[in-house]
Symmetry: C2
Subunit: 329 residues, 2 copies
Amino acid sequence: MQIHGYAAFQAKECLRPFSYTVSDLKPFEVIIQVSHCGICRTDLHMIENAWNRSTYPLVPGHEIVGVVVQKGQLSRLAVGERVAVGWVYSSCLECSECLQENTNICQYKTSIYNRGRYGGFADFVVADSRFCFQLPKQMESVHAAPLLCAGATVFAPFINYQIQANQSVAVIGIGGLGHLALQFSRSFGCETSAISSTEEKQREAKEFGASSFYTYENPPSAMQFHYILCTVDVELDWNLVLSWLKPNGVLCLVSRPKTFHFDPAMIVSTQRSISGSNNANRFLVQEMLLFAGRFQIRPKVEEMPLSEVNTALERLKNNQARYRIVLKI
Amino acid sequence: MQIHGYAAFQAKECLRPFSYTVSDLKPFEVIIQVSHCGICRTDLHMIENAWNRSTYPLVPGHEIVGVVVQKGQLSRLAVGERVAVGWVYSSCLECSECLQENTNICQYKTSIYNRGRYGGFADFVVADSRFCFQLPKQMESVHAAPLLCAGATVFAPFINYQIQANQSVAVIGIGGLGHLALQFSRSFGCETSAISSTEEKQREAKEFGASSFYTYENPPSAMQFHYILCTVDVELDWNLVLSWLKPNGVLCLVSRPKTFHFDPAMIVSTQRSISGSNNANRFLVQEMLLFAGRFQIRPKVEEMPLSEVNTALERLKNNQARYRIVLKI
């Protein structure tokens, strides 16, 4: 089967049409006809080889929704079924982390594209059906796509840290991840604050669920939040950010700033923590989709055709996306 | 009542004899005749005004064991009862943290010495009986004293993080805190490792409970520990230290290095955390004393008379104490 998509042929180049052939499917593999694919900042980093691990030609795209059109002999999915796939193509399912269903932090996991695999900026994609997810019937595919990465990433901390409705949560960065984090936080019943670099996002942040809105010029006061989810990868004044946490509060990084410098006095006497969270395991991705369906959590999307992928990437790069771009294939 | 002790009269000076008078006791106060008082690095920092909050004359000492000799009208302690007191003179018992029994991180807590109070390097000390602890009968006072600060500090993370016997714990720094941390870790049944700057401590570290011993020249391998308790306040290669943690592992600082610089990539993809722990609340101090009694956890002490307090402080400063100095009053 011939698959047609868009690929970067080397770092930082524009994407160009690319096709590849799939012959035999492995037992758990399926071919999905892609209907929608979200664009994530990780795609930009991978196109630019920011982490020195990109292989070319590189077909990005890891927020994929589509319909199963072909299946390997062990797949439990049905041809014709609508499914979704995220960043993880598959994990080893044998290591200590996988035995704890920490499939998202398995050392041996492979991604849906790179190193011989090709992603969702294409008419079809090959996936491992054990890492495909079911979508609530009433959820539109265009709204489902961004949940696979952006949604899962900001949902997981609520479950992993057992965040409850009596607690206060601040979200730093009101973009693709942050605008979903606000909706999840409100749905968990938390007192929800948005912290943005710009006043411009105030109105929308409040629509997404923030009851308070802050900027770096007009910051929160000290000891205000139980949890801060930091969705930006820029360098912040980390001592200041930590000061906003209550005692025993947690600053969770879901994205990767280049460096992090802080004064241990900010965490020892108050018992604060700094932690990292990396997408979500399979159970949490599925829970997130059901939760988003039940609470009608929807990304705010800009829908663009695959043929305009380069324009779309440029918009994302310039922080113009409001709030997630989804390619219609 | 006249109380005689040793005080620093200004920063970095030798301690000299000092006496002060106690007239009326507040309702919850007691006067304790001090029999033993441990010396902690915090005492050194306070004498030297390292945190810019010391007031002079300063009578140090916050690992205190003695006998109640006088009591205010609301104290539930009995005259003649042996009790122990640590760093916290009292907390507000009204703020949100106190309502959760986080008395150790109450913003309004006061310490057993400084700002008008005087510590345990003296024949008597005034304490709040609500912050006095009972000692197991068979525990010797000289062994109990260091548990009040050093012991409580390294015990609390085991309970707060729910560390269990199937997990691996590394202790960085085999000194006053570290040699107790190894004993607690072994008693919780954990696979226990010691990490020291010097090979010299290998034999004793193994006696305290370490099954493995590492130095910075001969370091652990990557992804080895569920928890690392860092008891030193020197600057380490924090990215290297973080690399020793398994995914989802926790680096807990129980002491305060001056700065902490790390690459967020070390915690995001593997979901590691960096946290701080500050002594222990009242419940945990009491649990720790019972636990130490049951498992016969004993600090290794050098006993010295109060009159040699300056020699004792000098030994601690030069890292010569093996492993905790206790003043006999």
